[in-house]
């Protein structure tokens, strides 16, 4: 009986750990994929824990458990970054079981606000902190330190047979708002343009809308044309781009497959047309890219410092798997 009880409490602890890395505080419960993955993790952990060996070290050494509780890293912020942060946290906790990392989303602003209030160790942000946010943090005695942890670039793709191989940001904006409706208007064949987009809740959709369609103009109220096809997945976009010579699509650079043609993009008509790659994204010559940041409250120390070092080194291998651009 006691044997069973011991393992049960051990399993409970493991479950608790799984639940602590829930990606979103709101709506996270309804995120189907995260629910599935959490269940899968929970089940696999349970099956592991039922092997008597899994629990023994903790039982034998309660001091270890106490130190584990002390090394908890709170990480909150950008929904764009949340899956990457989650992947990092899972990989890191798998390697260093005595560190606990709790990742939550909510948006860049939420993460930065939490950092200002001193409730998190790391704030994820898909934009730089605003001067007034830095001032607010310093008023609380916190001086935020910025780390660029990955880059996000959006590639514009067309069918391989499409002769159009370069577009300006303005042209992409006009295409996606429905001002340009035929490929011949941008130097292609006389074909109608079929617009492909990710679903409106994807971070890529919002980024393209704000920085390309609205050309970074905060006052602009331009929207995607109602004729835009919203595809439920990256695979949906690539399948249509592969087989339809009329189509234009976009997606995170890491998701673009070899059978789509990537278009070179220029900031304006005179500017150089640049194809996205790890190099052009990192030297900022490709226009549709942005750095992704992690902010710490003051110079990081101890567990946080080690974790950040790991993110900037080994953690970079996970970056491209999630569709982002690694730092090198």
């Amino acid at each position: 009986m006691r044997f069973i009880f011991r393992h049960f409490s051990c399993a409970l602890r493991a479950f608790h750990r799984v639940l602590r890395i829930s990606p979103l505080p709101d709506g996270g419960l309804f995120s189907f994929s995260s629910l599935i993955s959490r269940l899968a993790i929970g089940l696999s952990l349970l099956s592991l824990i039922w092997m008597p060996v899994a629990c023994r070290p903790r039982q034998a050494n309660p001091v270890d458990g106490a130190s584990a509780a002390a090394r908890t890293i709170e990480n909150k912020g950008s929904d764009t970054l949340v899956n990457l942060a989650l992947a990092w946290a899972e990989a890191y906790m798998g390697r260093y079981p005595d560190v606990r990392i709790s990742v939550t989303g909510g948006g860049s602003g939420t993460g930065i606000a939490a950092l200002i209030n001193g409730t998190v160790d790391l704030a994820n942000a898909s934009r730089a902190m605003k001067p007034e946010e830095v001032a607010a943090a310093e008023a609380n005695g916190i001086s935020p330190v910025e780390f660029t942890v990955a880059r996000d670039a959006i590639a514009v793709v067309v069918h391989p047979s499409n002769p159009v191989d370069r577009l300006t940001l303005r042209q992409i904006s006009d295409i996606y708002t429905g001002k340009i409706t035929n490929w011949s208007q941008v130097g292609g064949q006389d074909r109608p343009i079929v617009l492909l987009s990710r679903e409106s809740n994807s971070g890529t959709y919002v980024y393209l809308l704000e920085n390309v369609i609205r050309l970074g103009d905060k006052e602009s109220d331009l929207l995607f044309s109602p004729d835009t096809l919203l595809m439920p997945s990256s695979e949906g976009i690539s399948a249509e781009v592969r087989q339809n010579p009329n189509s234009i699509g976009y997606d995170g650079l890491g998701y673009v497959t070899a059978d789509q043609k990537v278009v070179a993009v220029a900031r304006d008509v005179d500017g150089p047309y640049v194809l996205p790659s790890v190099e052009t994204v990192n030297d900022d010559s490709y226009p549709i890219s942005r750095p992704l940041y992690v902010y710490t409250a003051g110079e990081p120390t101890g567990a946080v410092e080690e974790y950040l070092k790991w993110i900037l080194d080994e953690g970079q291998t996970l970056v491209s798997e999630l569709g982002f651009v690694p730092l090198r």
Binding site: D26, P192, N201, S202, F224, D227, A239
Partner: protein
């Protein structure tokens, strides 16, 4: 030995019977209770949107939920268009197949065809959707010369295919219920086989056939996965004549695509449940129409 066991079972029977009866009652009532609970949940989560969003916006023409534009009209019309066209395609095909299987085909062919049709119903919708996206959509684009193959028409084709098994088996059952004496009488009056089928058997089975259509329609309007993959999901208002060959966005696909990432309790979240309420009312009306045809049949004291 035998006597002993017999005694035991007979002495237990009242208890066993009572237990089984109670179990069946609990199961029966719990299914009613569950439906009521689901409906209440839908109301609770969906009704706030009617207060949070002005009705002009809610029944407007632009669905951009990330920018607080919750116009459900394109979605509603998208669902109606795809379902209606699917029925236009599926009904003649389904009826013809049902008549062939029941009235014309020889016995051995019927034995093969019936199970084959029932197997069709078991194909997962995501498989059909993927099939439609990768194989049918390019064909539609090339043969019709439209900009993209992900259109309302492609969705209607897939939905028609999915509704066919339902329509065929229900219609076939309805034809089967027509007494043999009707057919004999028709033939005895000198009518040909075709005249008997068209003028006697089909009218006699009319209410069953209407029900087949309603059930097929219910199947089509609620379908999500296949529709999401092949209709292109562009929330444009399908009013012009060529809308059939342009992308549309249905209510089911919208809920499925957006529910995953929406913040719980937000206006967008309530709007998605609001769509659920509209969808529920629509299917409820269809089922009501189907049920009323059955009642009419009973009142007439007709067949079966």
């Amino acid at each position: 030995m035998m006597d002993q066991t017999d005694n035991r079972t007979s002495s237990r029977r009242p208890w066993a019977e009572f237990g089984i009866e109670a179990l069946i009652q609990v199961v029966g009532f719990s299914s009613i209770g569950l439906v009521v609970l689901i409906f209440l949940f839908l109301i609770r989560e969906g009704v706030p949107v009617f207060f949070e969003v002005p009705l002009g916006n809610l029944f407007g023409t632009r669905w951009y939920p990330t920018f607080d534009l919750f116009g459900t009209l394109p979605l509603l019309l998208g669902s109606v268009l795809v379902t209606a066209i699917a029925m236009v395609i599926a009904l003649p095909l389904g009826m013809a197949t049902a008549i062939f299987v029941r009235e014309v085909a020889p016995g051995w062919a019927r034995e093969v065809l019936k199970p084959m049709i029932e197997v069709l119903a078991g194909i997962p919708s995501v498989v059909l959707g993927f099939f439609g996206m990768t194989l049918i959509a390019p064909v539609v684009r090339e043969t019709l010369g439209v900009p993209t193959g992900l259109t309302a028409f492609t969705g209607a084709l897939i939905l028609a295919y999915m509704a066919l098994p339902t329509i065929i088996s229900v219609a076939e059952d309805a034809l089967d219920a027509v007494p043999k004496s009707y057919r004999d009488a028709g033939l005895a009056m000198g009518a040909t086989q075709w005249q008997t089928i068209w003028r006697v058997v089909v009218p006699a089975a009319r209410s069953g056939i209407v029900m087949a259509m309603m059930l097929g329609m219910g199947r089509a309007i609620g379908e999500t996965m296949a529709v999401m993959l092949v209709t292109g999901n562009a929330a444009r208002l399908p009013l012009s004549l060529d809308s059939l060959f342009r992308p549309v966005r249905t209510m089911t696909a919208t809920v499925a695509a957006e529910m995953g990432e929406v913040a719980q309790g937000s206006t967008h979240y309530h709007a998605l449940f609001g769509i659920g309420i509209i969808l529920f009312l629509l299917t409820f009306l269809i089922n009501l129409a189907a049920a009323s045809t059955i009642f009419k049949k009973r009142r007439r004291g007709g067949l079966r």
